[in-house]
C-alpha cells in the first residue's frame, strides 16, 4: 500500500508488520513518535504485542532481553542519551546472543542539550556486538527494520540489529512509503537457546577465560558470516518486494575519480552534489555506506575519497574516516560536518569535493583545514 509517512512512522509500521511478542521502550526526542505510534497500534488492537512502558532505557533493554530469551520476537527504540543510558544492556543483549531489533534515531549527546542529528550515539555502541545499519529514506527505514528481524534471527547470526535513522532530517520528514504484507518472508522466530524449564541451564553465569574467549570468538564468527546472510536477505527482499539494497548505495560510482562516503541522510544529499559536480566536469560519485557493523569490504583503489563524519572521536579523528582508512588503506579527505544537527547542503558537499586534500581533516564551519 502506498502512503505518506515520516521516518518514525515507517519504523512503527514495519514493527507492526513484524509482530513482536514484546515491545519495551522509553520515550526520547526524536524517537517519541515511534513509541507513541506503536502504543496506538496496540491500543487499537492492530498489534497484539505486549507493550511494556518501562521506567528507563536500561530497563527497556533489560525487559527485551528477558522477553527475547523466552524465544519471542522483541523490539525497542531509542536515541542519544537513551542509548547511552542502556549501554550496559546493549552489551548484554549481544553477548547473550539475542536477536533484538532496536531503532536508534541518531541524535547528538549533551551537554548542551541538543536534539538534532549526529552519529556519536550509535558509534558509542560500536564495539558491543550489534549489527548496525544506517538508512537514508523513509522507505529504507521501513524496509531495513523488516529485514533487521530476519537478519538478527537468522541461525547464522543470532545477534541484535540496530537500525539507525537521522533525527529530524529523516525521523520527522514525510516521504512516500510503500508498505508490504510480509507473509513468510519473516517466519516465526526460533531461538535455539530459548529458556526451557524441562532443560534447565544457567544463562550467563560465572565463566572462566577459556570459555569466555570461545563465546567472544563465536560472536566474531557470526559477525563474519553476517555479510553473507545480509546479502541473502536483501536479495530475497528485492525479489519479493522489488526494492534492492546492499552494503553501500552507489550513485554514479562506476567511472568516478572521486567518491563521497557518508552515512544516512548526508549520503543521500551527496547524490545531488554529485550531479552538480558532474555538470562541472568533475567525475564524482557517492558511495553511501549502509552497514557499519559488520563493516563491508570496499574497493576504493585508484580513487580519491571524501569521507563525511557526523561524529568525532576526540583526540583521534572522524570515526568513519578512520574506519575507511584502516579497512582500505586509502588516505581520505576527512570532513567533520553536521555535528549537533548543523545544516549540510548538497552545495556544501560539492565544496568539500572541490577543496579535497587527501590526508587532511576539515571541520566544516569552524576553522577550515586543520
Amino acid at each position: 500500500m502506498l502512503t505518506l509517512a515520516t521516518g518514525n512512522k515507517a519504523v512503527a509500521a514495519a514493527v507492526k508488520e513484524a509482530r513482536p511478542l514484546v515491545i519495551a521502550a522509553y520515550p526520547i526526542t526524536p524517537q517519541t513518535e515511534i513509541v507513541e505510534q506503536i502504543a496506538e497500534y496496540v491500543a487499537a488492537g492492530e498489534l497484539s504485542s505486549q507493550y511494556i512502558p518501562v521506567e528507563s532505557e536500561h530497563s527497556a533493554m533489560a525487559a527485551c532481553i528477558g522477553a527475547s530469551v523466552t524465544g519471542g520476537r522483541t523490539f525497542t527504540a531509542t536515541s542519544s542519551h537513551g542509548l547511552l543510558y542502556m549501554h550496559e544492556m546493549v552489551h548484554w543483549a549481544a553477548g547473550a546472543r539475542l536477536p533484538i531489533v532496536m531503532a536508534n534515531v541518531n541524535r547528538s549527546v549533551g551537554p548542551g542539550w541538543n536534539v538534532w542529528a549526529e552519529h556519536t550515539d550509535a558509534f558509542s555502541q560500536r564495539d558491543t556486538g550489534w549489527l548496525q545499519v544506517f538508512v537514508s529514506t523513509v522507505q529504507e527505514a521501513y524496509d531495513a527494520t523488516l529485514m533487521a528481524f530476519k537478519i538478527a534471527e537468522h541461525e547464522g547470526v543470532l545477534l541484535p540489529v540496530m537500525v539507525n535513522l537521522d533525527g529530524f532530517t529523516l525521523s520527522h520528514i514525510m516521504q512516500s512509503l510503500e508498505t508490504v504484507e510480509i507473509g513468510d518472508f519473516l517466519p516465526p522466530m526460533h531461538l535455539p537457546h530459548a529458556i526451557d524449564v524441562e532443560q534447565p541451564c544457567a544463562y550467563g553465569p560465572l565463566t572462566g577465560p577459556a570459555d569466555y574467549f570461545k563465546f567472544r570468538w563465536d560472536i566474531e564468527r557470526s559477525m563474519r558470516d553476517a555479510p553473507g546472510v545480509i546479502a541473502e536477505v536483501e536479495r530475497e527482499f528485492g525479489e519479493r518486494f522489488g526494492r534492492r539494497y546492499g552494503p553501500t548505495e552507489d550513485y554514479r560510482c562506476e567511472d568516478a575519480d572521486i567518491l563521497v562516503i557518508a552515512l544516512g541522510t548526508l549520503g543521500k544529499e551527496a547524490e545531488v552534489a554529485v550531479d552538480l559536480l558532474r555538470a562541472e566536469g568533475v567525475k564524482a560519485g557517492s558511495m553511501r555506506l549502509r552497514w557499519f557493523r559488520p563493516f563491508p569490504d570496499l574497493d576504493l583503489r585508484g580513487r580519491d575519497v571524501v569521507v563525511i563524519d557526523r561524529d568525532y572521536s576526540f583526540g583521534f579523528g572522524g570515526v568513519l574516516a578512520h574506519s575507511i582508512r584502516s579497512k582500505t588503506g586509502v588516505e581520505p579527505f576527512s570532513v567533520i560536518a553536521g555535528l549537533g544537527g548543523q545544516e549540510v547542503t548538497y552545495d556544501d558537499i560539492a565544496d568539500f569535493v572541490r577543496m579535497h586534500t587527501p590526508g587532511t581533516e576539515y571541520w566544516f564551519g569552524v576553522n577550515g583545514h586543520v
Partner: protein, 293 residues
C-alpha cells in the same frame, strides 16, 4: 502441617561460604516454587553460588543479568511467558544492594506496572559479592569495608518503599525460619501481580560470627525484634507466629548485636538508636495488624 517438597533444586556443589544464609533461603524458595520456574539473578553472591560455567548448582533455569536490571528483565520475561500462555513462575532473586540501591528504580517500575512476578530480596545487609562494602541496607553502626568506623546512617526501610506501591502481596522472612519462608513463597506465587518477599539472610563472613551460628543469628534477629516477620496480603497485615512469640518475651537487642563482629565497638548512642528504631517498627506493624493505623 505443611509438607516441604523433598526434591532439591540446589545441588550439593554450590560455592557459597559455609553457613551462608542466602543460599539456605534459595533452597527453600525453589522447593516452594517447583520446577516450572525461572530465576532471574543480578550480580550478587547468588551469581557466584551457582558455580562456574558449564557447571551449575541450580536445577532450574537461571537467567543472570546485570546488577541494576533484575526487576526489568523479569518484567520482560513474565510478559513474554504470559503472552505465550505459560504460567512459569518468574522469580527475581536479588541481594540488598541490587534491590535497595542500584536496582530500586527497576524494582519500582516493575511494581508500578503490575508485573506478574515475585521479587525476592535476600538481605545480608552489605555487598557480599565484592567483599562486604556497605549498602543502603547496612544497619546503623555496622562495620563494613567502606564503613570501617561503623555505618553512620540508618538502614533504608525497603519494606515501606515497596509498600508504597501497594502490591497484592508482600512479606518478610528469615533464613532461620524455613517453613515460614516456604509458606510465604507458596502464598505469593498463588497471587497474580507483583509480589515481594524480603528475607533476612545472616552472612557469617560479613557479619563476623562463626559459620555454625547462622540459624541462631537469624533467630536472635527475630526474637530481639530487630527483624519482624509478617505478611501483608491485599493490604491486610498479619504478624507471623515467630514474631508474635518474640513480642511476648523479647530477647534483649544486645544479645543479637554482641554476637557479631561487625558491631564491635558500637557506641551506646547507636545502640540506643537501633533499639528505638526496632521499637518504632514493631509498634507501627502491631498497630497496623490491629487495624489502628
Amino acid at each position: 502441617m505443611t509438607e516441604i517438597r523433598k526434591e532439591e533444586f540446589i545441588l550439593k556443589c554450590t560455592s557459597a561460604c559455609a553457613g551462608c544464609g542466602g543460599s539456605l533461603c534459595l533452597r527453600y524458595v525453589l522447593k516452594a516454587a517447583g520446577p516450572d520456574t525461572v530465576l532471574v539473578v543480578p550480580a550478587c553472591c547468588t551469581s557466584v553460588i551457582q558455580g562456574i560455567y558449564p557447571a551449575t548448582a541450580v536445577n532450574i533455569p537461571v537467567y543472570n543479568i546485570a546488577f541494576a536490571a533484575a526487576a526489568a528483565c523479569a518484567s520482560g520475561m513474565s510478559s513474554a511467558f504470559r503472552a505465550l500462555g505459560r504460567k512459569t513462575n518468574v522469580i527475581a532473586y536479588a541481594g540488598d544492594g541490587g534491590t535497595v540501591d542500584i536496582g530500586i528504580q527497576a524494582l519500582s517500575g516493575a511494581f508500578e506496572r503490575g508485573t506478574d512476578f515475585l521479587y525476592i530480596c535476600y538481605d545480608n545487609e552489605a555487598y557480599g559479592n565484592t567483599g562486604m562494602q556497605r549498602s543502603g541496607a547496612t544497619p546503623l553502626g555496622a562495620r563494613t569495608t567502606t564503613t570501617p568506623g561503623g555505618k553512620p546512617t540508618t538502614k533504608k526501610d525497603l519494606d515501606r518503599i515497596v509498600e508504597a506501591h501497594d502490591p497484592p502481596y508482600m512479606a518478610t522472612a528469615c533464613s532461620a525460619y524455613p517453613l515460614d519462608l516456604y509458606k510465604k513463597v507458596k502464598r505469593a506465587l498463588g497471587i497474580p501481580g507483583p509480589k515481594f518477599i524480603h528475607i533476612l539472610a545472616p552472612c557469617p563472613p560479613g557479619w563476623r560470627f562463626p559459620a555454625e551460628q547462622t540459624v541462631e543469628m537469624g533467630k536472635l534477629a527475630v526474637k530481639s525484634g530487630m527483624w519482624v516477620l509478617y505478611e501483608r496480603e491485599y493490604g491486610s497485615l498479619t504478624i507471623s507466629a515467630p514474631s508474635k512469640a518474640a513480642m511476648r518475651k523479647p530477647v534483649p537487642l544486645e544479645e543479637y548485636i554482641r554476637r557479631q563482629g561487625r558491631f564491635r565497638g558500637i557506641t551506646d548512642a547507636a545502640l540506643t538508636e537501633l533499639r528505638h528504631q526496632a521499637d518504632l517498627n514493631l509498634r507501627r506493624l502491631t498497630r497496623e495488624a490491629e487495624g489502628i493505623c
